[in-house]
Amino acid sequence: MKNTEHIRVAMLEDDPTFRNTIAACIALETDMRLHAFATTRHEGMAMLKGPSANVLLADIGLPDGSGLDVVRASAHYWPECAVLVSTTFGDETTVIDAIASGAAGYIIKDGDYTQQIQNIRCACQGGSPISPMIARNVLSRFRQYLPSPEETLRTALSERERQVLQKVSQGFTAPEIAVQLSVSAHTVRTHVRRIYHKLAVKTRIEAVTTAQRLGWLDN
């Protein structure tokens, strides 16, 4: 099998146990290989200078800073790479921050390994993992700080995207939503990825408008 057809997975992880476990799982997959790994923010930044991976698993809490810096920088250095943030519980604050920084989703560290591999593969194919709580919070993020929440939500998200988010927040899985909306599960996952992307862009625009309002961008 040629190198190019492998899913190249890069890891930014300071916990050796988790790193080793994932590395072992990847080794078992015929179409995946560990591309590179870093254990600190500094190493992570250095890693981005090298050749791009397909999927980057990034931890947030690193000994020398936040993994989110690396996530943000990856959009510049590895624009083709899908970033998954690894968290313990899939807690929404971490995940939402990561999505706003450009992440494509997350994997849960204590989740079963088949699920983690499945998430990596999903991210590589342009899909995005999502949980009900995250769907809920993404919805509220789009509504937040805006003069007419419903109106803005309508302009920010397409009707389909909004439906998908609502269904996810009610506990339905991608295949179930696909059946209800008469589309493929892959389309549902792509919707989620697009929503994530919009959130990241929106967050960036918000940052810029806030900075403009506060006069940081004068001159």
């Binding site: 519980f89 989740g111 079963d112 709580m133 809920r136 506990g171």
Partner: protein
């Protein structure tokens, strides 16, 4: 001689024969003597004044231009003017309430040298007199006539109208506000003054209004005016003379009744006027120094001004009384119509001052009230903030305690169990299972803290997300058929944890004991309740006897009780259906 018979049209051109005397004008032809006229015995007195007119020849061309002008005359009777024995003019109206205060100007038809006769009839003992008289060209004399007319009739009338209109305004003020007796007194005074001033506008036509009642009103209005003015001063100074007040008011009531035409003739009423005036003045004079002292103490400059005008009334009133009694030259004007309005204006000034002061006090009070209200608002907000902070602290500490208890009872005990297992060299899988349980418990606790905004579905969705991997690992298929449910406002983190624990316990039981292939979680909305149903197709499980309940089931019952929820198991074939019935509104404790 009867005064009701009109003056004859023609008399002897030189007047009746008799002993003519040369007199200087103004002239009083008869003095008053005696209070009440003796109509039966004493005769009517008729005085004749003769004027010899010799105009310069140059005036002959303008025959109609010559006029006779008499500023004032006074008699309780009638006046008539003859030229060369022909009647030119005579006074109209009532004999007593005649046009005594109205200047007379009569055109002389014959412009050559002539003799003018002025005939004046007077009731016995009532006095009579005339002022200086002028004969001349209209242009030369008319300004005197006009001025005199304005001073004696027009201006007093205008002043009365002004005061009356003020009175009307103040009446409405007094009407709208209780305890405004001063305003009412002003209104009364204005009315009385208007009545009083009418007789200066004379003559009275007895066919329009009875002379007796007119006289009664004229005299009593003056007396009442004095009383009302005095009451106003007392009210303003806030000094009471109860004894004197009763005397004056009741005295005046008696006087008004006694002088009414029911008991007296018109002539007698006019004669009694002086006594009534004196009665009022004499009684009210001694209180003036006391009132002045009260005003001085109150530093009321306007009050002192008012008293000054009031006291000025006395000499003026004396002057007018003497004028009426022929003791002062008849050339003089009556002064009361000029002094009384000043008095009124002082009153009006005081009332306006009071009104303005009251307004500014009200404004000031409003500002003060606003300030106080603002201060209270701030205080209220502060105390509310404080209360809220205290409440928040309490909620936080209660939540912290709950979490601590929960961790101690749940996580703590499971972890302790795991440690014991490692010490006892328990099988590896058992320890792993225990630690997994521990992690599940921790996740559940974390999930219960997620803000779900009263949305039960969010809670269930998260539970599914947690359970799915385990079910998947067991090869079980989860059927998710939830429908939107109404918000449950009582869904606090602790309530959420109870629900999550109940449902997790049920699902865990199914995984462990039921050997089911399919598991279905659904929701159902009823008017008062939301029902969460978990169905499986495994072995029957109906806990019937409470004693047989394990620790987990005990927990489920206890948690359901805490939620005011009911739980039930029903057999299916195959499998079991579990229902958790949650009230939409939590019953108040």
């Amino acid at each position: 001689m009867d005064l009701t018979i009109p003056a004859p049209d023609n008399v002897a051109p030189d007047g009746p024969a008799g002993n003519w005397q040369q007199v200087t004008l103004p002239h009083t032809s008869a003095l008053r003597n005696g209070t009440l006229p003796d109509q039966n015995n004493a005769p009517v007195i008729t005085s004749w004044y003769k004027f010899v007119v010799t105009p310069p020849d140059a005036l002959n061309r303008h025959t109609s231009d010559l006029v006779f002008y008499l500023p004032r005359w006074k008699t309780e009777g009638r006046l008539a003017l003859y030229q060369n024995g022909h009647l030119l003019w005579y006074s109209h109206g009532d004999l007593i309430w005649n046009s005594f205060n109205r200047p007379v100007m009569v055109e002389l038809p014959f412009s050559g040298p002539s003799t003018l006769l002025l005939r004046m009839d007077t009731l016995p003992q009532r006095g009579a007199g005339i002022t200086q008289a002028w004969v001349g060209q209209y242009n030369a004399v008319s300004w005197r006539y006009r001025t005199r007319l304005a001073l004696q009739c027009t201006i007093p009338g205008i002043l009365a109208v002004i005061l009356l209109s003020m009175g009307i305004i103040l009446f409405f003020v007094a009407f709208a506000r209780p305890n405004s007796s001063l305003y009412l007194l002003f209104v009364f005074a204005a009315l009385l003054y208007t009545v009083r001033i009418l007789h200066f506008m004379g003559p009275l036509e007895p066919s329009i209004f009875p002379a007796a009642w007119f006289g009664w009103a004229t005299i009593n209005s003056m007396c009442w005016l004095i009383v009302v003015g005095w009451l106003f001063c007392c009210g303003l100074a806030e000094v009471e003379f109860p004894w004197l007040r009763h005397l004056l008011v009741w005295g005046m009531v008696i006087c008004s009744v006694a002088t009414s035409p029911v008991f007296q003739s018109s002539i007698n009423i006019a004669a009694l006027a002086l006594s009534a005036y004196i009665f009022c003045f004499v009684l009210s004079i001694p209180t003036m120094p006391l009132l002045l002292l009260a005003m001085w103490k109150r530093r009321s400059r306007s009050g002192i001004l008012l008293l000054f005008w009031n006291m000025l009334m006395f000499p003026v009133a004396v002057h007018d009384m003497l004028l009426a009694d022929y003791k002062v030259s008849i050339d003089h004007l009556y002064l009361l119509p000029y002094v009384v309005p000043d008095l009124f204006l002082s009153c009006l000034y005081i009332l306006c001052r009071r009104y303005i002061d009251a307004l500014s006090i009200a404004e000031h009070a409003n500002i003060q009230l606003e300030t106080r209200l603002h201060a209270q608002e701030v205080a209220l907000r502060n105390s509310y903030d404080k209360l809220r902070r205290v409440e928040q602290v309490e909620v936080l500490s209660a939540e912290r305690q709950r979490l601590m208890r929960d961790m101690h009872d749940g996580l703590g005990s499971i972890l302790t169990g795991a440690i014991h297992m490692t010490n006892n060299a328990a099988p590896h899988t058992l320890i792993a299972q225990t630690l997994n349980d521990c992690l599940s418990d921790l996740k559940l606790t974390v999930d219960s803290l997620e803000p779900v905004d009263a949305d039960l579905l969010a809670l269930l969705a998260n539970l599914r997300f947690r359970l799915e991997p385990r079910l998947h690992a067991q090869g079980m298929i989860l059927h998710w058929s939830v429908t939107p449910v109404p918000p449950m406002q009582w869904l606090t983190p602790s309530a959420a944890l109870h629900i999550l624990r109940i449902l997790q316990e049920i699902v865990t039981n199914i995984i462990k004991h039921a050997q089911a292939q399919n598991i279905s979680i659904s929701t159902l909305v009823e008017p008062d309740d939301i029902i969460v149903r978990i169905e499986d197709d495994g072995l029957d499980f109906i806990p019937t006897q409470p004693t047989s309940l394990g620790r987990g089931l005990h927990n489920i019952h206890w948690r359901a009780k805490m939620l005011a929820a009911t739980i039930a198991w029903h057999p299916r074939s195959p499998g079991t259906s579990f229902t958790l019935r949650l009230p939409i509104e939590q019953p108040s404790p």
